[in-house]
Amino acid sequence: MTEPIVETKQTENKEWEPKIIAFLCNWCSYAGADLAGVSRIQYPPNIRIVRVPCSGRINAYFIIKSLTDGWDGVLISGCHPGDCHYISGNLVARRRFAILKELLEFFGIEPGRVNFMWASAAEGERFAVLVRKATEIVKKLGPNTKFEKKW
């Protein structure tokens, strides 16, 4: 039987660090993350950013597939309601997020694995603070082994 080559799930020397995938909307959150970087604001390096045009582009499949692929946490960030570059993309997304969060909790996925936030292009500091918060939450939950396909 082939064995999976596991990267950093458990190592003796280093403490386990969660891997979080972050979907950021291009106009607000991605720019906010950029501003945090340019301003040299430190935030945890656990997130891997995927740029999408709007938080309304986020399909529930992205979030669930990330969990089944083994990501420990998912973070989605968009513009504040009322400030969406496409007028109402984030409002559509907000309803989707609400349903998804409630259903995930009902099915027994720890609330805290999937997080949503609003961050605008001028809020570099806020972006860093919330990413730090999300990383703390996911770190407390431990590695994501529920969806592991064992073979």
Partner: protein, 352 residues
């Protein structure tokens, strides 16, 4: 070889001796339904059952099966074949209809230029221990398709439930070899063998459904475009319960699963169904069976017309699972009635 007796109390001993050498599959309760699973102790065996929801073909041809696994090492791809095909299995307590289905599955997987090694190797290493049906269900009709509630031919060892003992008969060489290992089994008396024959006769007489399937095949061969198919497929919702629970259905889909993060993958096969609208969808976008009536018709024709043409026997074992599973009660017996009505209405006698 002479018939033997197995006391119901000795099933535990039977199991613990055989499980040393064989992987033991038996009917057991899973979430309230009977299923054939590998058991870990003899208490789990339930032999006093009507029939399992999912047929025992699940043991040799499971819903999901790995064909091979592969992994990347640098630029090389290393393929690992299945290693567990040489394991010996016992499938215990199979009804005669399901035991006969193994023969039909063998016909299918061994036909043509490419033989399915995975199934055939497992089948070769499997010993089937059948058990007779003392009280067949209303929905059973094995006698109409050439079967019998006490049919022994497709099994290796056959049990008959005589009350507090089972009559044990070796049918094939494999069965004889198995029974030789259990020398502690008592010899059966003539009265026991007579009782088993009695039970067989009673069971045969209790059937309420009787069809002449040779006639059905003839009518089907000549009525592919008949408007009766409209009526037959009217209430079908395409749920595919019938095909998933059928002991002779063999269609499967092959999928490659990639675990990119770990540089490995596997090729698996999963059960597929001709009742799905995507089943015949081709890459060009053309679909030869886009409508439900064509898919409904295909299932009936496959079992009762194409199977006789290709393999010289009916593709149905008469277990009745499709009848009890159909949520809209679009049952096989009503369908056969409607088909036979064509021949009556047309007035001309179809010669047998």
């Amino acid at each position: 070889m002479a018939e033997k007796l197995l006391k119901k109390d000795d099933i535990g001993k039977f199991y613990s001796e055989l499980e040393k050498e064989y992987k033991f599959y038996a009917p057991t309760k899973v979430k309230g339904n009977i299923a054939f699973k590998k058991i870990s102790n003899a208490e789990e065996i339930e032999l006093d059952y009507l029939n399992s929801k999912v047929p025992p073909k699940d043991v040799l041809f499971p819903q999901k099966e790995t064909i091979f696994e592969y992994r990347y090492e640098g630029k090389e791809v290393i393929i690992e074949e299945r290693k567990d095909l040489e394991d010996k299995l016992i499938i215990f307590g199979v009804r005669p209809c399901d035991a006969y289905s193994f023969k039909l599955l063998e016909d299918f997987f061994a036909s043509g230029d490419f033989q399915d090694d995975i199934f055939l190797k497992k089948r070769e290493n499997a010993t089937i221990i059948g058990i007779g049906c003392n009280s067949p269900r209303q929905s059973c009709f094995c006698t109409s398709v050439g079967g019998h509630p006490f049919q022994k031919e497709s099994t290796d060892v056959f049990l008959s439930d005589l009350g507090d003992t089972y009559l044990v008969e070796a049918i094939s060489e494999k069965g004889e070899n198995l029974l030789k290992k259990l020398s502690w089994l008592a010899d059966a008396k003539k009265a026991d063998v007579e009782k088993s024959k009695e039970l067989a006769k009673l069971a045969e007489e209790s059937f309420t459904t009787k069809f002449d399937f040779d006639l059905v095949t003839k009518v089907l061969d000549e009525n592919f475009e008949h408007p009766v198919w409209q009526e037959i497929s009217e209430s079908c919702i395409g749920c595919s319960s019938c095909t998933f629970l059928c002991p002779t259905c063999t269609c499967f889909d092959v999928i490659d699963e990639n675990d990119e993060y770990n540089n490995r993958g596997r090729r698996i096969r999963i059960w597929d169904t001709c009742q799905s609208c995507l089943y015949t969808l081709e890459t060009s976008g053309h679909n030869p069976r886009p409508a439900k009536i064509q898919r409904c018709r295909n299932r009936i024709m496959h079992k009762f017309s194409y199977y006789p043409s290709n393999y010289d026997c009916l593709g149905c074992v008469g277990c009745g699972r499709c009848i009890t599973a159909c949520p809209v009660n679009n049952e096989l017996r009503l369908i056969i009635d409607k088909i036979l009505e064509i021949q009556e209405k047309s007035g001309e006698k179809v010669s047998a």
